[in-house]
């Protein structure tokens, strides 16, 4: 579902539940994977992402555009992941004061990871827009099925699976042509 962009941002700023559900749908997985890069701990990554989202939800912070919101979420998640790493012993303190504002110098490495994860996030959102057949094949291969297994399951030739898969990737890349401002959530 693509949504009016301003409406969504306004909804997020105003803490409308529908907008927050979209926000979760569009960012949660990517942010978890991002934090997991730093922590290598899936459960902790999910906790940190949730803490950050809840803290933003509770704060009166307003965002001027989606870029600002997106960068902010990555930064806040990263900062909190770092703090967590430093203070593994005192986890409780983190829950009590989530750090949103501290500017932590983003090193080259984490910057590259942020770029990478954000692009992956956008691509991931576009999967929903794939034509139905292509999407099914994409989803099956994400779920771990091999080419021959997919062919058997869907009753099509392995050749078709391959061409459809290639076409899907091409389609996803094609979508990247659209203005970055319109990226889906």
């Amino acid at each position: 579902m693509s949504i009016d962009f301003d409406l969504l941002l306004e909804g997020v700023n105003k803490k409308d539940m529908w907008a927050w559900e979209e926000l979760y749908a569009g960012y949660y997985a990517a942010l978890c994977s991002y934090v997991n890069n730093v922590l290598r701990d899936r459960d902790q990554a999910q906790d940190i992402v949730q803490d950050v989202l809840v803290a933003v939800w509770k704060s009166s912070k307003r965002f001027g555009d989606m870029k600002e919101l997106t960068s902010y979420l990555y930064r806040a998640c990263y900062n909190n992941a770092l703090i967590f790493k430093r203070n593994i012993q005192i986890r409780k303190d983190i829950e009590q004061k989530i750090v949103l504002e501290t500017e932590v110098e983003v090193a080259d490495e984490i910057f590259a990871i942020t770029v990478r994860e954000e692009l992956l996030r956008q691509l991931y959102c576009y999967i929903k827009e794939l034509p139905e057949g292509a999407r099914e094949i994409m989803e099956l291969s994400i779920s771990g099925l091999s080419g021959p297994e997919i062919a058997e399951k869907l009753g099509i030739t392995i050749h078709t699976v391959k061409t459809q898969k290639n076409r899907s990737f091409k389609y996803l890349r094609e979508k990247l042509k659209d203005s970055v401002l319109l990226f889906l959530i």
Partner: protein, 382 residues
């Protein structure tokens, strides 16, 4: 090196979709001098890597986390409000139960199960009246049919939708959606406008919007998210019209009751049948009293449109008003044995998808009210 995240993301996007200009190509080459960014770029070029990452994304389920956030929402609201009841204890219990209804539900239902039956919430159901007068029941099974030469009507995943192909019908073809008491329905009209129709409502609309304006006929309660379009969208009701371009707003216009039009975003104009007009900005509400008096006021919009997101939100609301709303949603009749109970006021949130018993138990806990359920009738007494 200090680079802007979006500058780089955009360069990558353009590179992967082969739409870089020469200048941008140079810029990208520059950026890729950085070994980390080069590595990220190479990873993104590798389909197997991308698939692996998607696989990881798939393992993080956002719904559970989002549901947790929702519980915060309740908590914050309760803190923010000054609950109003007849005693401090009552307030505390009410706040507590309103925000932990799910934890108590097991208990409540066990208790209630012995003596009384549970009245479940409404569900997704409606009757669709087609142009030729046939009626179709929707809600249980997916549905797909053709209406008015080339328009496809579909019902799936709880939503009814219209889409017209190339063939635009020549004549106006109208359908009507009738949502009975104890039900709700979500509909996507042909122009992209979405409507959440609440219990006890009727919406009549053309299968395809033609001409210079988009007009629908409505009675009951609904939340409209009108797709922006050069043609105005008009909701025509018994008491007046709401005219908009692209916006979201709630309407409550049940026959014989005060009408409310509540604006969430954009701008709307409410015009009564007597040609009186008010223009609303977000957060404002037009109230048309039964006396015919038209009034504009500021409200907390959630109190009026929260039902769409699964919550009943009451602020200093008289019990008689609350029960009127619950009657429609749960499909019950409420009898007040003591008239003065009607005047009691309550503040709090109720989960729309809980059984009505959760709320009744709460009233009982306040030591003011007792209830009996006989089939679909609820009797309240002291």
């Amino acid at each position: 090196m200090r680079l802007d995240l979006y500058r780089v993301v955009e360069l990558f996007r353009k590179s992967f979709s082969n739409s870089l200009s020469d200048k941008e190509k140079e810029k990208l080459d520059d950026v890729l001098q950085n070994t980390y960014l080069k590595e990220a770029y190479d990873q993104l070029s590798d389909e197997a890597f991308v698939l692996d990452k998607f696989r990881e994304f798939d393992t993080y389920e956002y719904r559970e986390a989002f549901n947790k956030l929702k519980t915060f929402q309740h908590r914050v609201r309760i803190h923010r409000w000054i609950a109003w009841g007849s005693s401090i204890a009552a307030i505390l219990i009410m706040g507590f139960l309103f925000f932990y209804p799910w934890e108590h539900q097991d208990n409540v239902q066990k208790l209630a199960g012995v003596t009384q039956h549970i009245v479940p919430p409404g569900n997704n159901a409606a009757i669709l009246k087609l142009a030729d007068g046939r009626t179709v029941e929707i809600g249980k099974q997916p549905l797909e049919l053709e209406e008015g030469e080339g328009s496809i009507v579909k019902y799936e995943n709880g939503r009814l939708s219209y889409s017209s192909g190339e063939n635009r019908a020549i004549e106006d073809v109208y359908n009507e959606l009738i949502v009975p008491i104890g039900a709700e329905c979500h509909i996507l009209l042909d122009d992209g406008t979405e409507v959440w129709v609440n219990a006890g409502s009727r919406l009549r609309y053309p299968v395809v919007f033609r001409g210079e304006q988009r007009k629908v006929m409505f009675s009951g309660e609904a939340f409209f998210e009108v797709k922006k379009d050069s043609r105005p969208f008009i909701v025509s009701m018994d008491a007046g019209d709401v005219r908009v371009l692209g916006t979201s707003f709630g309407i409550r216009a049940y026959p014989g009751e005060t009408d409310y039009t509540t604006l969430v975003t954009g701008k709307v104009c409410f015009q009564s049948k007597e040609d009186e007009k008010v223009i609303l900005s977000p957060g404002e509400q037009a109230v048309l009293h039964l006396s015919g008096k038209l009034e504009k006021r500021e409200v907390d919009v959630e109190e009026y449109v929260g039902w769409k997101d699964g919550l009943f939100i009451f602020k200093n609301k008289a019990l008689s008003e609350i029960m009127k709303i619950l009657e429609r949603w749960y499909g019950v009749d409420v009898i007040f044995q003591d008239e003065d109970l009607k005047e009691l006021e309550y503040t709090g949130n109720l989960e729309r998808y809980d059984s009505i018993n959760a709320f009744l138990q709460l009233l009982e806990r306040l030591n003011e009210i007792h209830y009996e359920i006989k089939e679909n009738t609820i009797i309240l007494h002291k």
